[in-house]
């Protein structure tokens, strides 16, 4: 180790001169010599491999590579017989040498809503004008860390903000200066969904806000490029300038990859995507993006599950990820997804080799691995003509190894970058491993030298006595020392070694200080006891199968539509027919096909529903489950954001809802602002991906909100308009007026700046989009109806609407529906007068009333909440049941498809063991479009399977720990449950 400082050795030739620079420190001299590497196995590309080849380089570049190369006379020849040459690696997701922004300490008490810059885009997190080049300083120490594991070139950039500007392509050449090593100072543009840590502008606070911002930015850029702006915007100009570069998007997750790709598609951009390592879970959709990926290989360490009380905190979801994630590169490769690999997220580049070996052990082919580190990253950057291979004209960036690069026993000797040699392990070092007879003053000891040739270890014994021995072998000098037990007598030896290692001799210093000589004669040649690494051998790995979704209670395979006949049920139709006793219902092709008595169909799955109740699936008008974000709180109006962008199809609450008979739900934006985001109306198809949960031809909805939340009354925020109910009205008036003007301009055919927010407002004004408005007190309810009247549209739904009973007559007149809590109150000042009779009163005045949840716990027993309307206000059971089925379906404009048991409607039905309004009722089967998504019996099987699989994985993790692998402490990656107020 003391030679560490000398590891970076360089050629004896003078520095590459910069031709046109004057020279005052000597005389000008050039080196036009060649260097030829001969007799090597050369990977010119991962797929073009030559035996006994020659690589000829000059002036930092490859002149030629091949088998029959004529070597110029002015060549330095390096014989690499038995050695291999590979192109050096490329990491295109690096921060090498580029100063990264630090989180700026918060000095302001209130949120900052306005931008801090002048002459740039209106949002501080859009920084296409940033250039890594301006922050670049070559970091020799970091370069060495990367060179040591085989990297030759990196594309470095500023990892901060939503649009991050351009990167810089740098060769890790510590010998020359920036003039040579910077290969491109404007290489690729980087983007993400994450805000700048340095900038304090509040918007966007959410993932869907970031998405909306990117969309708006792209359309603004187009508008700007057409010369429509009257002011200068340096950000948009930079964005337009960077347009031709490769666009690299930091997704860090399989779902975010799809989100990014969708934005790209809308603007004709194909992003290269930084993955998160879980892409294998949804390989079909990942493949369909047609994107090239950059994959981190920071596979999770096993959890330390030795304490069962701690182990229980680790979900099966996370245990599986530990087990399955190392297969990610393999699965992508097998599916033809092109990817490069990165050291990104690794604590140190030194971990790279081990993690890569894990990926290969899990089935990633060596060719695919090499491509991912050489040709693919070069292709992504459009730089295949200068890096990534050892073809003529490429940078002379290559590795010299003892053999197959990816074998764990292979030694990486040298990493040449731009023709500059970096020694990792001394190639000239003699392999002295073997067993010797060591003669010390006539006494023969047995010396066994083994381990890594450059860091050998040794065993020494004389007869049956073993000695602790210290050994080093560097620069072909061997040193050995050991002590005799009894009197701690030290023997020291040192000697030079030769390529013929049959005999090693040298100086011996005896314990008494006298000098003598030692001689070691090899008696047995070294043999690696370890089994040869034969490449991919996954047969001895236990990898648990993926489920849909890939969490506990996921399906082994996606469930299918069935034709089913329910016999002799009590059918709650939700239609004029009311409750039908002893009735049969046939579902077929995902639809309710037939309702009647004594129906008989052959070859159809028949379920005896005697004594049971069959109902339409419950519809929750107001939910916040199945979302990765709820509120975009950065502006007081965020009509541009879409909940459809942030659906989380793996939320276990979907399963809980199904177990409570819920089949559809409106995923609403939160109530952080008067004008919130657009809704996602979902069918809770557990196991399907997010897009498939969203209704096809979905009615369009948007969340509005009134009262304490939008005034920001209940937290320390005093700077955002509005702070009063008076201000709330003005926000609406202003936006609707602007929306009207925008729409008029658009329809006039004159040029206009596309504004996603105004597009949505115009949809409302044109009756194409419906409002579901979070509301509490009567004054504000009345206000919004009057605002709507002024702009000639109807508010569709008031949600919460706890004082709706006070203005039920006015609501009826306006034509708005109501979706309320059964019995919530007293949590805020504005719910002082909330009463559980609200639903019944409004219903009595002819309003369409639904009972909703806004709560992940309550949503899974909405049947009981409907039951409460019988208690509070004396609703009939039939009417009560409608409040969670057909009424919310009407409010959501999906009542022609779902909400009741009627022939032709979607087969979204629930089988209950008791009156569904009763606290005693349990959903036994929940079916959506003929597919059984919840079944009480299947659930019992899953419970057992989960226990079994947890046990298996815990066993594997314990094994891994026992094998000395690094572990991480148990933790629970629990998801937050969202309400309206969730930020």
């Amino acid at each position: 180790m003391k030679f560490l400082g000398l590891c970076l050795l360089w050629c004896s030739s003078t520095l590459f001169a910069q031709d046109y620079f004057p020279e005052n420190e000597g005389v000008k001299a050039t080196n036009k010599n060649f260097t030829a590497f001969t007799n090597a196995k050369i990977y010119i590309t991962p797929e073009e491999v030559i035996q006994n080849g020659t690589l000829l380089i000059q002036n930092g570049k490859v002149i030629k590579s091949g088998t029959s190369i004529s070597i110029p006379t002015n060549s330095v020849i390096i014989d690499l017989k038995g050695k291999s040459i590979y192109p050096s690696f490329i990491d295109i997701y690096s921060t090498f040498g580029v100063e990264q922004p630090k989180k700026s300490p918060s000095t302001r008490r209130a949120a900052q809503y306005n931008p801090s810059r002048e002459g740039f885009y209106w949002n501080d997190h859009i920084m296409p004008e940033n250039s890594a080049n301006t922050k670049f300083k070559f970091d020799a120490k970091k370069a060495k860390e990367l060179v040591d594991v085989g990297f030759g070139v990196v594309n470095s950039h500023i990892q901060d903000g939503i649009v991050r500007g351009t990167g810089i392509l740098v060769a890790l050449n510590s010998t020359d200066n920036d003039a040579r090593r910077i290969l491109d100072d404007q290489s690729a543009q980087y983007l993400s969904f994450s805000k700048s840590v340095q900038k304090k502008q509040a918007y966007p606070t959410s993932l869907m806000g970031s998405m909306a911002l990117l969309r708006q930015m792209y359309s603004d850029a187009k508008w700007y490029s057409q010369g429509n702006a009257t002011t200068k915007d340096q950000s948009l100009e930079a964005l337009l300038k960077n347009k031709t570069k490769v666009q690299i998007f930091e997704a860090k997750d399989k779902d975010n990859a799809l989100r990014a790709d969708k934005i790209g598609d809308a603007y004709g951009i194909q992003y290269t995507i930084l993955g998160g390592g879980n892409e294998y879970e949804n390989i079909e959709d990942i493949k369909a993006t047609n994107a090239t990926y950059i994959l981190p290989i920071n596979f999770p360490d096993a959890y330390d599950v030795s304490n069962p009380y701690q182990a229980k905190y680790v979900t099966l979801r996370d245990m599986r990820n530990w087990n399955q994630a190392p297969s990610n590169p393999k699965i992508l490769a097998e599916n033809g997804v092109l990817f490069s690999l990165t050291t990104h997220t690794l604590k140190s580049p030194s971990l790279f080799k081990k993690k890569l070996a894990k990926a290969i052990k899990h089935g990633l082919s060596k060719t695919a691995a090499l491509k991912a580190l050489t040709t693919t990253p070069a292709e992504i950057l459009g730089k295949s003509n200068i890096i990534g291979s050892l073809k003529t004209g490429r940078q002379a960036n290559f590795l010299i190894t003892s053999g197959d690069l990816f074998d764990t026993n292979t030694t990486l000797y040298e990493n040449w970058v731009q023709g500059r040699k970096n020694v990792i392990n001394d190639i000239t070092l003699n392999d002295i491993r073997g067993t010797y007879d060591l003669d010390i003053g006539g006494l023969i000891y047995e010396l066994k030298i083994k381990g890594n040739p450059s860091k050998p270890s040794a065993e020494l014994k004389q007869d049956t006595t073993k000695f602790k021995v210290k050994i080093t072998h560097t620069n072909n000098w061997l040193t050995l020392s050991f002590a005799e037990h009894k009197e701690n007598k030290q023997y020291r030896m040192t000697g030079i070694t030769h390529s013929n290692t049959n005999t090693i001799s040298g100086k011996l210093v005896l314990p008494n200080g006298k000098e003598s000589a030692f001689k070691a004669i090899k008696i047995v040649n070294y043999k690696d006891s370890k089994e040869e690494n034969k490449g991919a051998n996954t047969s001895n790995l236990t990898i648990v199968p993926i489920t849909f979704p890939n969490v506990g209670y996921g399906f082994n395979s996606k469930p299918k539509k069935e034709t089913t006949l329910f016999k002799n049920a009590t059918v709650w139709t939700g239609e004029n027919e009311g409750i039908l006793e002893n009735t049969d219902v046939l579902i077929k092709d995902g639809k309710i096909s037939k309702i009647g008595k004594n129906l008989n169909f052959k070859g159809v799955k028949t379920i005896d529903a005697t004594g049971k109740h069959l109902t339409a699936g419950i519809i929750d008008e107001h939910t916040h489950i199945a979302a990765v974000a709820i509120n975009e709180a950065g502006h007081n109006s965020t009509a541009e954001v879409k909940m459809e962008d942030v659906v989380d199809s793996e939320d276990i609450n979907i399963y809980y809802n199904l177990a409570g008979g819920v089949t559809s739900a409106q995923l609403l934006h939160g109530s952080a602002n008067p004008i919130g985001g657009r809704s996602a109306i979902l069918k809770l198809k557990w196991g399907e991906t997010a897009d498939k949960l969203i209704y096809n031809n979905s009615p369009k909805f948007i969340k509005f909100a009134l009262g304490e939340n939008v005034k920001q009354s209940n937290w320390q925020s005093f700077s955002r308009f509005p702070q009063t109910r008076m201000g709330v009205e003005q926000v609406f008036m202003n936006y609707f007026q602007r929306g009207k003007e925008y729409d008029a301009l658009k329809k006039s055919g004159q040029p206009y700046r596309y504004d996603e927010e105004m597009e949505v407002i115009a949809e409302i004004l044109n009756g194409e989009r419906f409002i579901s408005c979070h509301s509490y007190v009567q004054s504000e309810i009345n206000m919004l109806m009057k605002v709507a009247d002024k702009f000639d549209f109807t508010v569709n739904t008031f949600t919460h609407i706890l004082e709706g009973y006070k203005v039920a007559d006015k609501m009826k007149e306006h034509g708005v529906g109501a979706s309320t809590f059964s019995d919530w109150w007293a949590y805020k000042y504005e719910v002082n007068d909330a009463i559980p009779y609200n639903a019944a009163i409004m219903q009595s005045q002819g309003i369409t009333v639904a009972i909703n949840s806004d709560d992940a716990e309550m949503s899974r027993r909405l049947n009981q909440e409907a039951g409460k309307t019988v208690k509070y206000g004396g609703m009939t059971e039939l009417e009560a049941w409608k409040m969670v089925t057909i009424n919310p379906a009407k409010l959501l404009h999906i009542d022609h498809r779902v909400g009741s048991i009627k022939e032709g409607k979607d087969a979204d039905i629930v089988l209950w063991n008791d009156n569904p309004l009763s606290v005693y009722a349990k959903a036994e089967k929940t079916i959506i479009e003929g597919v059984t998504y919840f079944d009480l019996q299947t659930d019992l099987q899953y419970r057992k399977a989960i226990q079994k699989e947890r046990n298996l994985l815990i066993g594997l993790m314990l094994q891994e720990k026992a094998g000395g692998a690094k572990t991480q402490e148990p933790k629970q990656t629990k998801k937050e449950h969202h309400h309206c107020d969730s930020l």
Binding site: Y309, Q310, Y313, T315, L316, R317, V551, Y553, I652, N653, Y656, N714, Y805, K806, A808, D809, D823, W824, W825, A826, Y827, K828, Y829, D833, I835, P836, Y837, I841, S844, A856, E857, M858, R860, R861, G867, K868, V870, K871, G874, T876, E877, D914, N915, S918, V919, Y920, A921, K922, D939, R943, I946, R950, E969, P970, K971, Q972, T973, K974, K975, H977
Partner: protein, 432 residues
């Protein structure tokens, strides 16, 4: 159903429609009341069909079959097709200590300090809370008013829900002290870069030590009283001499084992486990040590993603089946939710628990656990006439419909701020 609606409507109309203030507490029982013909659910697991219940001066004087030949005294209430239940009891609840969650000025439930047993809930209890009165139409008539927060939150008292002031309300003053046992996992401080969700609590052992050290100091303090008063040590003496109960809040298996083992070692006599999400995994320890459980309410989500979806629903049944003394509390829920107490018990019935046993979890068992069973919790001769009449099954929201409720024999109002608003606006609409 129709019949019921008429009865209720008539009942409402007979009350004043003008007042929006809290209900006036009912006067002392002046005349004997007899309820005849109802199905009596006694709260001890037993049921009397066609019952006769009589009470005088607030005390039950007869509980038996209506077929028995005995003189019906005083006012006779026809209980035919109706059900009589003991008043439900809500343990471990900050009712009357906070009115509107978002209004800080109305919040008196959590005092500063980690170990503050001397802080007493009773004197802050708002007997005129609009929230408290809303409990009554659902049959919840008694509560253990409990402070929140910190390691030892303070001292609770048990009150009835129809009173002029806290002194009036008190059933049992300073009945117990509430200890939040440390947790082995804690929530990640995500704003400091830790992951969201739960991480091992490295301070667990230290925190447990602090609890034990406090107990030992209190014991030492109690042995030599001739010195300056230490309010915390002094307030803990009741727990040490067994006159007050110690309510230990713990959910995890390890936490429960630690709490019970260590408190037993310190010779704490009256320990009640509150929460008990994993109590079923330690049921033999709890049984051996005769530790009752005030289990978390059923309307909860599973804590662990891989848990059974219905674990919170069936937990009370599992514990009952294991032979433990079980009551249900909803300490972690918002105050207004406490009126759903009967439905928490009903939910367990859906999981196969016998209805009368489920009833015990919010009446007889709870009274036993809180130590007020001499007078409350069951319908029995000699006990307080704290009971109500429902037209249907009170554990099911469909049928929980009260016509009468009595606290200590006093015929209390079933009106609330909420029913008054209901009638006010129905009158507005119907009067048009």
């Amino acid at each position: 159903m129709k019949k019921y609606t008429t009865i209720i409507c008539a009942l409402f109309l007979s009350f004043s429609l003008t007042s929006l203030a809290q209900q006036t507490p009912a006067p002392k029982q002046s005349e004997t009341i007899s309820i005849e013909g109802a199905t009596a659910h006694l709260g001890n697991g037993k049921i009397i069909e066609n019952s006769l219940i009589m009470f005088e001066d607030g005390i039950l004087t007869f509980v038996g079959s209506a077929t028995q030949k005995i003189a019906r005294k005083g006012t006779l209430i026809n209980g035919k097709n109706k059900h009589v239940y003991p008043g439900f009891i809500a343990p471990s609840k900050a009712l009357g200590l906070i009115e509107v969650n978002a209004v800080r000025a109305s919040n008196d439930q959590d005092e500063i300090g980690e170990i503050i047993p001397h802080v007493r809930s009773l004197i802050a209890y708002n007997a005129e809370s609009k929230l408290v009165e809303s409990m009554r139409p659902n049959g919840v008539l008694i509560g253990q008013i409990t402070p929140n927060g910190g390691r030892i939150s303070g001292t609770s008292s048990i009150v009835q829900f129809d009173a002029w002031n806290w002194e009036d309300a008190a059933i049992k003053v300073d009945d117990g002290i509430h200890l939040n046992w440390p947790t082995t996992f804690r929530k990640g401080k995500w704003w400091l870069g830790e992951s969201k969700g739960f991480l091992p609590n490295k301070k667990y052992n230290k925190q447990v030590d602090e609890v034990i050290s406090f107990i030992r100091n209190s014991i030492a303090y109690g042995k030599n009283i001739a010195k300056e008063i230490n309010p915390a040590f002094s307030a803990f003496q009741g727990v040490l001499n067994g006159s007050q109960k110690l309510y230990v809040y713990a959910n995890g298996e390890k936490e429960i084992i630690d709490a019970i083992t260590k408190l037993k070692k310190e010779n704490i006599v009256e320990v009640v486990l509150v929460g008990g999400y994993e109590a079923h995994k330690t049921s033999s320890l709890l049984k051996d040590n005769k530790i009752p459980v005030l289990v978390q309410f059923t309307h909860n989500l599973p804590f662990f993603e891989d848990d059974d979806y219905d674990l919170p629903y069936k937990l009370p049944k599992i514990l009952v089946d294991a032979g433990l003394l079980v009551g249900i509390q909803n300490g972690a829920a918002s105050n207004f939710q406490t009126r759903n107490l009967p439905f928490y018990a009903g939910q367990a019935v859906g999981q196969g628990l016998d209805k009368e046993i489920a009833l015990q979890l919010i009446s007889g068992n709870t009274a036993k656990i809180l130590g007020i069973d001499a007078m409350y919790g069951t319908i029995a001769v000699g006990k307080s006439a704290t009971l109500f009449i429902s037209s249907g099954d009170a554990l099911d929201m469909r049928t929980n419909q009260l016509s009468h409720a009595f606290i200590d024999g006093r015929n209390i109002s079933l009106e609330t701020h909420q029913t008054e608003l209901w009638k006010r606006y129905m009158k507005k609409y119907n009067g048009k």
